[in-house]
């Protein structure tokens, strides 16, 4: 089987993925899978999706050659795929739009979502408002504090934000709580998962909606430089922006694919979220994948300066790409990510999300090791407005 034909019909990417959920959810996942496969081959559905991506989201997002940044680091040329310019400020809306269209098709009047940084929550609240769907967003109470602006945004858009007090009070707990809501309200509710995780068909479906990023990139790079980049670099939390840009490149084996995880305060401190770099396989949130866990199989608490990367699991397709070595996974620390953030602000006049800053930080390390003709394409997954309080507090800027 070719790598890009996965998952198999049971949702497996090699030994990863699958459907590890309680029986109550099995029928709903079956129903979702059918609705998704029907829509994926329905020209009317695809046409509407493309129309909305163009006129509502603002696609295609441009690719930008960061000349001053490239000169500064003195090596490879940096190109940015500007997902930060999408409506709501991140790649998340590509996927939300697709799933909300499915929800409407399936006759579900209510959508729910989990969110960490709040970008997926904002995207869901946004599309729910536009489609007239009731919307509830689960968010760890720690993240509610860290991302107050996004909480306000979701409320203005008419969503109910439900702070989650259980466990570590972050993204993984929000996901648990959203699953509990779903199982309780299964007839009325569509669960819009925000990344390429969860039980089959979510990892495949979210990836497919996000591959618009990589498909556009291939056309745009050809137009701009007459060839494809030497390396494609993206940050990895759950892994949706990375899968979206990687997947169309899987068959192009001359293109290096590099996923950048959050090393937090350093992998050896234990305070990090670098699942593929430092985790081991296990089962969480409906799929088998790499996890940060202790010897007894309990999920451990994670840390990252960016709420969107603060997750102890990762999409199963990344686990498969790691083991099969088609993609490389590396990590950068909070401090390095902050440097990546400031460089892009000062050299290019673009304020990146702290999540995306991880990819930039790695590009900064890689650039000098490559020649001036080498091309790196970084997925700039989101804009950094939501992070100004975090960055200001870390750098002593008073607001």
């Amino acid at each position: 089987m070719r790598m890009h034909d996965l998952p198999d019909e049971k949702g497996h990417f090699g030994r990863y993925g699958g459907v590890f959920v309680a029986e109550t959810l099995m029928a709903a996942l079956e129903e979702l899978k059918e609705a998704y496969f029907t829509s994926a081959t329905d020209p009317a559905f695809q046409a509407e999706f493309e129309y909305d991506l163009k006129y509502y989201v603002g696609r295609p997002s441009p690719i930008y050659h960061a000349v001053r940044w490239s000169q500064h680091y003195g090596g490879a040329q940096l190109y940015l795929k500007r997902e930060d310019l999408n409506h709501t400020g991140a790649h998340k809306i590509n996927n939300v739009l697709g799933q909300a269209m499915l929800a409407r098709r399936m006759g579900k009047p209510r959508v729910i979502a989990e969110t960490g940084a709040g970008m997926h929550g904002v995207a869901t609240a946004t599309v729910a408002a536009r489609f007239g769907l009731e919307c509830a967003v689960y968010m760890g109470s720690e993240d509610v504090k860290r991302q107050a602006a996004n909480v306000a945004r979701m409320k203005m858009l008419g969503a109910t934000v439900i702070p989650v007090e259980s466990g570590s009070k972050t993204l993984k707990d929000a996901l648990n709580e959203a699953m509990r809501d779903w199982v309780t309200n299964i007839d009325s509710t569509f669960y819009i998962i925000g990344t390429v995780a969860g039980p089959h068909p979510y990892p495949m479906m979210v990836r497919d909606f996000q591959t618009v990023i990589g498909r556009e990139s291939k056309v745009q790079m050809q137009e701009m430089i007459g060839r494809q980049p030497d390396a494609v670099i993206a940050c990895v939390g759950g892994g949706s922006n990375a899968m979206g840009i990687f997947h169309p490149y899987l068959a192009e084996t001359s293109v290096r694919l590099i996923g950048v995880e959050a090393a937090g305060e350093g992998i050896d401190t234990g305070r990090h979220a670098a699942t593929l770099c430092a985790g081991t396989p296990g089962v969480l949130h409906g799929n088998r994948t790499y996890l940060l866990q202790d010897a007894d199989g309990q999920i451990t608490e994670t840390h990252s300066i960016s709420a969107g990367l603060d997750y102890p699991g990762v999409g199963p397709e990344h686990a498969w790409l790691r083991d099969s070595k088609r993609a490389e996974y590396v990590s950068v620390t909070d401090d390095e990510a902050l440097d990546g953030f400031h460089s892009l602000c000062r050299l290019e006049g673009i304020i990146p999300a702290l999540e995306s800053s991880h990819a930039l930080a790695y590009a900064a390390k890689l650039a000098p090791t490559l020649g001036k003709d080498a091309v790196m394409l970084v997925n700039l997954s989101g804009r950094g407005d939501k992070d100004i309080h975090t960055v200001a507090a870390r750098t002593g800027i008073t607001l």
Binding site: G18, F20, A22, K172, T184, G282, Q298
Partner: protein
């Protein structure tokens, strides 16, 4: 014959229904687990479902979430639970013990290693909430020949085709989840459960237990009217939470004794 099969046969012969209490091992503390198990058996529990705490109990409501957090904070692990069951077995060789929990602690131990150790500890059944039959093949193979039954859930949303598949692989008994929701929910609809059970009966000769949302003697008695076993979880866990470690065994015995009485009353 396995302990579970023997138990259900004995119950059938005496025309009684099984009472299956659930509590989380290590809650309220580790030292109380074996005494609580003993008290439950003495109060008339026919099978004990022992919860294995997990950091991310996706299918559980707040009561069992809190129990899991308490148990983990006391250092409870799958290994320590297997030791507790071994200690219980030395004192009680007839009451079946079923481990109920999530996949990851078992996968971390290694499925084959787990099967061997569970067998050595005297475990009779395993119910892994997030292993539907599709993903349970490795565990099924590992448990083969070890006298440990694998117990599966059937839910209100389960289609007839899936019921048939589940009936094919299930052993011991089938656990019918009485409502679409998490443990501890309060929206039990008994007539809907009864109707679904009648359909399930046509597909299996295994005993059928009903759980989720059964909170008192009256509900237990009604469920016992059409099911083979009544599972009581969150309502017991709430009482353990209120009792604390020193009074846990006494409270557990008293509560389960009262349910037993309600079920057996003529």
């Amino acid at each position: 014959m396995s302990r579970i099969a023997a138990t259900f046969q004995r119950l059938r012969e005496s025309k009684r229904k099984a009472l299956i209490p659930f509590f989380t091992a290590g809650d309220p503390d580790r030292a109380s687990t074996v005494p609580v198990m003993r008290a439950l058996a003495q109060a008339g529990a026919d099978v004990i479902e022992l919860g294995v705490p997990f950091s991310d109990p996706m299918a559980d409501g707040p009561t069992i979430q809190r129990a899991s957090e308490r148990a983990l904070s006391k250092g409870t692990s799958l290994s320590s639970i297997l030791e507790d069951v071994r200690a219980f077995r030395a004192l009680d060789d007839s009451t079946p013990v079923v481990l109920m929990g999530y996949a990851n602690p078992i996968e971390a131990m290694g499925v084959a290693n787990f099967a061997e150790r569970a067998h050595a500890s005297g475990i009779d059944g395993v119910l892994v909430v997030d292993y539907p039959p599709e993903e349970a093949q490795d565990l099924l193979r590992a448990l083969e020949g070890r006298g440990i039954d694998i117990i599966f859930l059937v839910a209100p949303t389960t289609t007839e085709a899936r019921m048939r598949e589940i009936a094919n692989v299930a052993r011991g008994y089938i656990y019918y989840v009485s409502l679409a929701g998490v443990t501890g929910a309060r929206n039990l609809d008994l007539s809907a459960v009864e109707e679904k059970l009648a359909r399930l009966r046509r597909l299996t000769s295994l005993p059928i237990g009903v759980g989720f949302g059964i909170r008192d003697g009256a509900a237990a008695r009604s469920v016992a009217g059409f099911a083979d076993a009544v599972v009581i979880g969150s309502a017991l866990v709430e009482r353990l939470e209120a009792a604390g470690p020193d009074d846990a065994a006494r409270c557990a015995g008293e509560y389960i004794g009262s349910i037993r009485q309600a079920m057996d009353a003529k």
